[in-house]
């Protein structure tokens, strides 16, 4: 039998050593060491732990709401966004999280830049809020809106009926059924109903810790991507949010007006 060469011997020994550390062998070795001494030291082996990987970007992140992990280190005025981006990626890799969606990453980058800008109102950061939570919040807001509209119409419909029928112009309710008072009554009703709606909306936002406009509105997200200075309007995002809020109120008002018109027509024609 021919003798093995030195290099062959070394190779065989190396393979034997590797075999002993593979497939859970590393952890069991540590267990053996700590077991004999009744120690509480960790027996997790770097050989048996799956390596962390940066996964491809996903548009929806699933899981428990993440805490704001955006570091708020001091950034000087010339902070390189490439460095920041790499830092964030490296941070995410270390924390064993999948790469968040593009909006969130850019949002966190933008947050760093806002620290440096002078005179500008800091934009609320796009938090890495669980998408499921956002969807649930969306559902609650839409449900509130639907209920508000339904209740308003249920109140408006009899009012319009009484308004269109002059037979109901008796003293107790004449003030309400006088056509000249319609706009005042209708506007007052809208104001009260809208105030109640917004109070309910705020309590939902507080409970879910979600800002409907900032986190659910695609328009706001797109606008927040535009860096300061590109468009000659200071605090563009804030202005867009305000405009969208006004539009929200206006759209409900217009919806009710349309309903009133249709209801009046139907009441006049059929009843």
């Amino acid at each position: 039998m021919s003798e093995l060469s030195e290099s062959e011997k070394r190779r065989i020994l190396r393979e034997r050593r590797q075999k002993k550390f593979a497939q859970g062998g590393a952890t069991s070795r540590l267990n053996k060491i700590t077991g004999q001494a009744e120690s509480h030291l960790s027996t997790e082996s770097p050989l048996d732990t799956p390596k962390q990987k940066i996964t491809s970007p996903v548009l929806e992140t699933v899981g428990a709401p993440r805490e704001a992990s955006i570091p708020t280190t001091n950034k000087d005025a010339n902070a390189d966004p490439q460095v920041e981006l790499l830092k964030k990626l490296a941070d995410m890799q270390n924390q064993d999280q999948s790469t968040p969606d593009l909006f969130s990453l850019l949002g966190s980058l933008k947050e760093g830049m806002n620290d440096n800008s002078t005179g500008a109102t800091p934009v609320q950061p796009v938090n890495l809020v669980d998408q499921e939570m956002l969807a649930y919040h969306d559902y609650l807001v839409n449900r509130l809106k639907a209920f508000t509209i339904l209740i308003k119409w249920l109140v408006l419909l009899p009012y319009i009926y009484f308004l269109t029928k002059s037979a109901y112009s008796s003293a107790p309710i004449s003030f309400f059924t006088t056509p000249s008072n319609f706009f005042m009554i209708f506007t007052s009703f809208e104001i009260i109903a809208t105030s109640i709606y917004y109070q309910k909306l705020q309590s939902i936002e507080k409970a879910n810790k979600v800002n409907t406009m900032h986190q659910n509105s695609k328009i706001v997200k797109l606008v927040s991507l535009i860096p300061e200075g590109i468009v000659p309007i200071p605090d563009l995002t804030g202005k867009v949010v305000l405009a969208l809020q006004y539009w929200d109120v206006l759209s409900m008002f217009i919806t009710d007006i349309c309903f009133v018109i249709i209801a009046m027509g139907l009441c006049s024609y059929f009843v």
């Binding site: 093995l4 030195e6 290099s7 011997k9 070394r10 065989i12 020994l13 190396r14 034997r16 050593r17 590797q18 002993k20 550390f21 590393a26 070795r29 540590l30 053996k32 060491i33 700590t34 004999q36 001494a37 120690s39 030291l41 082996s45 770097p46 050989l47 390596k51 990987k53 940066i54 491809s56 970007p57 010339n78 902070a79 390189d80 966004p81 490439q82 460095v83 920041e84 981006l85 790499l86 830092k87 990626l89 490296a90 941070d91 890799q93 270390n94 790469t99 593009l102 990453l105 850019l106 980058l109 830049m113 991507l225 860096p227 590109i230």
Partner: protein
């Protein structure tokens, strides 16, 4: 097939292929003594070759071990023609490099070459906390550059470099850096492609970080190729026969294997061999030896495929070239407590 593994470092000492030898382990186990011993034995066994022993531990010990002062520049050990020593603090060297690059960029407003570009504006300090191993990689490259400078200065190259590493154990963490950087750069280029010119609009930085990281990745891969070649590089673990040291040694070996680094030798220091020493024996030594034997049995079982070198606890400190020569011979030919027992008392003579 029964392959007996010699309980000594004879094959390593006589090796003509190894270029890089790392000696490491937790604090207080005798790393420096072991690294000095390996260097001396190799130098004695191969007189035609040049050896460099370099300490990267910020708390340098080489000067104390040899009893003469060494510094950042390689200097031959007194009494040895082919062994030089050097003490370098990689993190301090890296900090100097960073400071210089920052001040240069502030003065000139432009980028330096190579690594200086990466350091411009202190960008490196932003990244080092985030990417594991990058700090060690840059420190190591500084060390390599320094060695190259020494070779150019001395007009002779070193055939083998022995590293006396710091006890933190993170010296070689940068070996996983190429994988980390590959993934990061892939993600970065994907996002850069999607964002397009928006990234350029966002900031005034003119440092192309991605290309510099690619350069770093290429450099680290070159080093990694050498360090993962078992014929070129090996890691010698040093430990003592106690629970915590055994545990730390096992973790160190597993970490090294995860970096694809060859580790086939373990030196177990400070062994009492009390049962062989009838003349100088006490209850305490017997009790400690009993404890050591318990862990030694476990070490024998766990590391049966490793070169397991058992070194005695000497009566005095192993300082000075002569004492180191006497002690280091047991790396080449294993210590026999009955035959060599007297030697550990001869070492207590101070030089």
């Amino acid at each position: 097939m029964d392959l007996t593994v010699e309980p000594n470092l004879h094959s390593l000492i006589k090796s003509t292929t190894h270029k890089w030898i790392f000696v490491g382990g937790k604090g207080g186990v005798g790393k420096t003594t072991s690294s000095c011993s390996i260097a001396i034995q190799m130098a004695l066994a191969q007189p035609s070759k040049q050896f460099l022993l370099i300490s990267t531990d910020p708390a340098h010990n080489l000067s104390d071990a040899f009893g003469e002062k060494f510094g950042k520049d390689a200097r031959k050990v007194t009494g040895m023609d082919n062994l030089s020593c050097m003490e370098i603090d990689p993190s301090a060297a890296l900090k100097d490099m960073n400071d210089m690059a920052v001040s240069r960029s502030n003065e000139q407003g432009g980028a330096d070459d190579g690594l200086g570009n990466l350091l411009q504006g202190g960008a490196l300090s932003e990244l080092t906390g985030a990417i594991p191993g990058i700090d060690e990689a840059l420190s190591f490259m500084e060390v390599m550059k320094h060695i190259k400078k020494q070779e150019n200065g001395e007009a002779e190259s070193f055939d083998t470099v022995i590293f006396d590493t710091a006890p933190t154990g993170h010296t070689l963490r940068f070996l996983q850096l190429p994988n980390t950087l590959s993934q990061l750069l892939e993600k970065f280029s994907e996002l850069s492609g999607k964002l397009g010119p928006m990234l350029n609009m966002m900031g005034a930085g003119n440092v192309d970080i991605a290309s510099k990281l690619n350069e770093l990745k290429a450099n680290v891969e070159t080093i990694k190729q050498q360090f993962t070649d078992p014929d070129l590089t090996t890691f010698v673990c040093v430990c003592i026969s106690e629970f915590l040291s055994l545990y730390e040694t096992e973790r160190l070996i597993q970490e090294l294997i995860s970096y694809d680094m060859d580790v086939n030798s373990i030196i177990v220091n400070q062994l009492l061999f009390a049962e062989y020493d009838q003349e100088h024996n006490c209850k305490r030594c017997q009790a400690r030896w009993k404890m050591q034997k318990k862990y030694l049995d476990q070490i024998d079982e766990l590391y049966e495929d490793f070169h397991l070198v058992k070194m005695p606890l000497c009566a005095g400190e192993i300082r000075g070239l002569n004492n180191l020569k006497k002690f280091s011979q047991f790396l080449d030919k294993e210590y026999d407590p009955t035959a060599d027992g007297k030697l550990i008392y001869e070492l207590e003579d101070k030089e």
